[in-house]
């Protein structure tokens, strides 16, 4: 790898990490803001009660449930963030693809919502394990997803399918548009070149089928 390619690759990795953490912290802030207002509302109701307005137990229960729901939401977000942070612990690891793919898409949920895009994920019934670099894998998936969201159909739905096909593992991004645009294709191919090489994967972009497919051969399966 030459110096300039290495520099771009490193910058992309740091940017991916930074963008993901920023997006997740935004989500956590929203949970905190809702808990802040809910706790404040409880205080307001107690204060009104001290002035003679009766407390409605059902109302209090609803507010408590609202707080509890936000705690669960924040807990899931922090668990996902923690798993993401640990993806860079080791250069190679045996991972469950369904789990890691779901985690990567969950971390991109806010970014998709901001673009008005829905992501539909279809996973195989059988677990698929591969040995790979978890951080690079997640980074490639995120880049593919960003490309898919930029070329999404007017219904703004991206379908992501994980499947085994003829001994290959495929992650297909469907319902894309304008894939005949050579500049866009070149851009994503160049951007992912180094990471695909590291992962031992390749990317097929099929204009006619309006899809992009990330392919790992069976040698990765363990």
């Amino acid at each position: 790898m030459n110096d300039s390619k290495f520099a771009i690759h490193s910058e992309d990795g740091v940017r991916f990490f930074g963008e993901t953490v920023a997006s997740v912290s935004h989500e956590i802030k929203n949970c905190l803001a809702i808990m802040n207002e809910s706790a404040g509302l409880l205080q307001d109701l107690v204060m009104l009660n001290q002035k003679g307005k009766p407390l409605d137990p059902a109302r209090i229960d609803r507010i408590a449930q609202q707080i509890s729901g936000q705690i669960k939401r924040a807990d899931t977000i922090v668990k996902n963030l923690n798993s993401f942070a640990h993806s860079s612990d080791v250069p190679e690891k045996n991972i469950d693809l369904s789990e890691t793919l779901s985690l990567t898409l969950a971390l991109a949920k806010r970014s998709a919502a901001n673009r008005g895009v829905s992501i539909h994920l279809t996973l195989p019934q059988k677990k698929i394990m591969i040995t790979t670099n978890p951080f690079f894998f997640m980074q490639v998936i995120r880049q593919c997803l960003d490309f898919s969201m930029a070329t999404v159909n007017p219904e703004k739905v991206v379908e992501v399918i994980l499947q085994l096909k003829e001994d290959n593992i495929e992650i297909v991004f469907k319902k894309l548009e304008d894939l005949e645009n050579q500049n866009q294709k070149m851009f994503i191919m160049e951007k992912l070149e180094i990471m695909l090489e590291k992962l031992g994967a390749h990317l097929d972009i099929n204009d006619e089928r309006s899809e992009m497919c990330l392919v790992f051969d069976s040698s990765h399966q363990k």
Binding site: K29, G40, D44
Partner: protein, 123 residues
Amino acid sequence: MRVLLVDDEEELVSTLSERLKFRGVDSDWACSVKDALSKAEQNIYDIAVLDVKMPETDGFKLKRRLQESYPKMKFIFMTGHGSDNYYHIGSAETGKEFYLVKPVNIEILIEKMNDVLQKQGGV
């Protein structure tokens, strides 16, 4: 004072709206740009409190659309997004004192609402 709260987090704006009403501030809320524009068409608001990052658009664009139709409306941003870039854009739009980071103390928010009615006179 009549206020429109806009944020895609429904539990946040609905609860905040209820708490503002306890404090004598008449407020409505919306969770989408479409709903916000529709409410602004049906009512007269003195202030819009806008989230910065919302599905399909951002609070800055929504502010400009509302401002175009309702030049007297004042604006406060309330965001969970703490990036320098957004802070600079938001501050340029409303003044840095009206760019608030969540979670926000309601008494401070009301103080800012009173201030914005005085200070953004020329905007």
